[in-house]
Symmetry: C2
Subunit: 429 residues, 2 copies
């Protein structure tokens, strides 16, 4: 499409018009092929940010982004497929538990995951804490591993959704990130390109989430479910609590260790509960469980029998990793102590995530190197009673993080009314 | 300012906030110094397009653009200064008449003008039709010519308003042209940098203007007057009719010839009238005439006495041109005849301007070469009665333009109620 036509498309969206399918494809294909320059994409993204998308535009946009690169065909696998996506939080290691457990229940789990950026961690960094585990595999190897052990977790590849990669990078530097249609289409396009027939979305809400309000989180969840279902997938979403870190560990190697604990029948209750609920829904959507309750039983059985842990070990080996190797966890530990008695009424979870980044557990910039050994162990969670001097958390790594972690805790005389783990469910009928 | 801060500025404007002076200067200086990339400027421009500017933001923006390069100091001249700017139309050769006439009345006229782009002509192209006339002079020579003969018309130089030059080019390719605050600030910043104390704005309205409606033209005029006056200049604006070409000639050499006709006491009435009205206001603003009527007398006298024409000849020579040399006007002529009797009720003036561009008189792209010899002579104007077979216009140049010119004319049985030449006046008190 000519440069003049691209300007016409920008102008139409700017003026609040609805773009036709050809126009949206021209933008997306131009983004993928580099034929539309950054400045035109930036102006268009701002116009979309401020004018929004109709349902039709949104579906066309997500579909075009998906088709801008390779779309995996998983129909040759001998069983159903299901994936999970989380919008990102602190201490969210659920994917590591889910992938082998759901695989152990006969459903293939293709997970192409991202690295951590900003205050939230990334699944890929947690897998990279395992000695030898290869996250940068070509798609053919990913498919072979998936067929062989039922799950695979790798990093994003160049051939999937190149349009999204360019537009995502541009949104980051042009103030066009916080748009529900743009976020939803970006996530869905990548998940749709993975080829999974079923998808469970974990939309985090609260102080440690991108979405601080239930209203915003619900809108994002509805938008993503809408796109996925209209494009022929089975999609459910859960709004889950991110007013405090998930589990006890925040920091890559510690989180991987905690996920292994869960697979071996231990681990913090909230991590186990969320694993069981999301895993059950993956099974139900994939047709491997008739309903949520039956799905939950199957996931619990896969934990209890050790079948999930066995899949984990096989999968890790398949990716070149050693599941028996000790995880690199820092020995430098600094307790963060309560300076009064009372109840933990709130944890500023984003501040905790930022403290993890400062320790070296995450990235301020895309090219930062992550230290897998550092992080924060959360000793007291929202609602817990504490006495002055009790450890609220333990910093693993530099002492300088202690002040920030302490400041993230609010203590008060009376217990809070905390949000439940599952805030809302938007289930595929 | 860091990249993160630029994103914050984009986001604040995106969300409808008011930017502080430091923030606006960071954008404008970043545009001039190339330290802010195109994609961030593009996103910011779209946010401004859709969210607008407060008066305070607008003034800061225009002022920062003016100061992004050299600001001329004309205070050393032995007399007052005044300039005129037209928003662009078809057949608008008024600057060529005004500059020497106002100079002959003792007011210095510094004109840094643009080339034609799109369907409207440019003053610079008309001056370039004169054998030898140099439009690309350094600022020092411009100032010397101005001091010597009282007027100078040159092209834009690299050292004036570099921020505007970059942002203007970017707006053209990002669908952010048609914004009144952005247009107003772009025009005013250039005119303010010229250093003239008085400014008359000719805001064209009608089928051949950028502003098709009086409402839009009035808003642009008010916005420009506001910026200029708040920044300490004396500014008046006229909304003038562009529902038909100005005068008889459209096309560079022909327009220059028509301007010379006016200076020599002939020429079409509307060109004379507009010259007298705009020139009188320049004199009034500059303090060289107590009121409009006195100013009109002075301009008419400068025509009648030949003082204006004498200034014209001296100025042209000062710029290397030969005022006696024949103008290059095409001998290939094709009449466009009425196919019915009646009245000319409308002329699609933008279509006529586009036909001129197609003939070679204007530019589709910035690097097109202009042919000074071609154009259109308008033989019948709005309200004129015609008989079938009468020439409506004469095409000078390729015959292929005849169809377009004919299609631009609307003939009907009864005469139209035409807009007056001066639609509205917004005079500096």
């Amino acid at each position: 499409m000519s440069a003049a036509s691209i300007v016409d498309i920008i102008r139409r969206k700017r003026d609040g018009g609805e773009l036709g399918a050809e126009e949206i494809r021209a933008i997306v294909q131009g983004a993928a092929s580099q034929s539309v320059p950054d400045y035109q994409l930036a102006a268009w993204l701002m116009a979309v940010f401020l004018r929004g998308f109709s349902e039709q535009e949104l579906d066309t946009y997500a579909d075009a982004m998906m088709r801008s690169g390779r779309v995996l065909d998983l129909s040759g696998l001998p069983g159903p497929t299901a994936d999970k996506h989380s919008t990102g939080g602190v201490g969210d290691k659920i994917s590591l538990c889910l992938a082998p457990l759901v695989a152990a229940c006969g459903v293939y789990v293709p997970m192409i995951s991202g690295r951590g950026l900003g205050h939230t961690g990334g699944t890929l960094d947690k897998m990279s804490a395992i000695a030898g585990y290869q996250t940068a595999l070509p798609v053919e190897q990913f498919l072979a591993n998936l067929r062989s052990v039922g799950w695979s977790i790798i990093g994003q590849t160049d051939d999937l959704c190149p349009a999204d990669r360019r537009l995502y990078a541009l949104r980051d530097v042009t103030g066009t990130v916080e748009s529900i249609p743009l976020i939803a289409a970006s996530i869905l396009s990548k998940k749709l390109a993975e080829g999974s027939a079923a998808l469970v979305l974990d939309v985090k809400v609260g102080s440690g989430a991108f979405m601080k309000s239930v209203g915003g989180a619900r809108q994002l969840a509805q938008t993503m479910c809408g796109i996925g279902r209209r494009l022929g997938r089975r999609v459910s979403a859960f709004l889950t609590n991110m007013d405090q870190p998930l589990g006890r560990a925040a920091g890559n190697a510690m989180e991987t260790a905690e996920a292994v604990d869960v697979l071996r029948g231990a681990g913090p209750q909230d991590v186990v509960d969320l694993t069981v609920i999301l895993g059950a829904e993956m099974l139900r959507l994939a047709g491997a469980a008739p309903d949520a309750l039956a799905g939950q039983h199957r996931i619990r059985d896969a934990i209890a029998s050790g079948a999930g842990y066995e899949r984990w070990c096989r999968g890790v080996r398949q990716h070149g990793g050693d599941p028996e190797a000790p995880l690199p966890i820092s020995r430098e530990r600094h307790p963060v102590r309560a300076d009064r008695s009372g109840y933990v009424t709130a944890i500023n979870t984003e501040a905790l995530g930022v403290a993890c980044v400062e320790l070296g557990a995450g990235r301020r910039r895309v090219d930062d190197i992550v230290d897998p050994s550092v992080g924060i162990l959360v000793e007291r969670k929202v609602g817990d009673q504490v006495n002055a001097g009790d450890p609220l958390a333990i910093v693993l790594g530099a002492h300088s993080a202690v002040i920030a972690v302490k400041a993230a805790y609010t203590l008060d005389d009376s217990p809070p009314t905390a949000r439940p783990l599952i805030v809302e469910s938007l289930l595929q009928p």
